[in-house]
């Protein structure tokens, strides 16, 4: 079975999202950009929507002692990593778009307030 992949195309750029199955970020069902925030968890709340662990194959590899996961569980882990990649990339693009506008607005506000920058 091949690996999931994605391609983003925007007015100014394109970006390929590839999965590396050996990378730990594609070996978990718990994404970094999904689920309850650290702040919420620190308040003592339980994440009732926490994703279930990947399903193991009944016969564990006796030679390596390493758990083997079903093909679909591997796909779910790869999708979780790919989802994080896409979320992080688009969040960065959103912030990049916002910053110049905000700094310009901030400058305009400073100019209007006293005509000089605060020290």
């Amino acid at each position: 079975m091949s690996l999931p992949h994605a391609t983003y195309t925007g007015p100014k750029s394109t970006h390929e999202f590839e999965v590396d199955p050996s990378d730990p970020r594609y070996q978990t069902t718990e994404g970094r950009t999904t689920g309850a925030s650290d702040y919420v968890l620190k308040q003592g709340h339980q994440d009732v929507d926490k994703p279930s662990d990947p399903k193991k194959v009944d016969n564990v590899n006796s030679k390596t002692g390493i758990d083997q996961y079903t093909t679909l569980s591997q796909l779910r882990m790869q999708l979780t990593g790919l989802q994080d990649d896409i979320n992080e990339y688009l969040t960065e693009k959103i912030n990049h778009v916002k910053k110049p506008r905000n700094s310009k607005q901030e400058q305009e506000i400073n100019d209007l307030l006293d005509g000089s920058e605060e020290t």
Partner: protein, 87 residues
């Protein structure tokens, strides 16, 4: 790309390989009824190619694309888990 008066300048093409043609088609059929909350800002089309589920997203900006893509991938993960448990 223009659809009506809306310009979808941001797109994402997603390919997900399943174990069989049937699994990919089941996933497509499960996703189809999900309503699009703001069709004037976001569109998604589902198709299959052999054992692959293909999702094509289009949006007016990065923010709406992020929200829409994240939501669909979350649904796909649930579908994958369900097939894994039942089949």
């Amino acid at each position: 790309m223009n659809k009506g008066d809306t310009s979808f300048e941001h797109s994402l093409h997603l390919e997900i390989p399943f174990e069989s043609i049937k699994q990919a088609d089941v996933a497509r059929k499960v996703l189809l009824p999900d309503p699009i909350m703001k069709p004037e800002d976001f569109q998604v089309t589902y198709s299959t190619q052999d054992t692959k589920l293909i999702c094509d997203f289009e949006s007016v900006d990065e923010r709406i694309l992020r929200v829409g893509v994240n939501s669909v991938i979350e649904s796909i993960k649930t579908i994958v888990e369900t097939i894994d448990e039942l089949c």
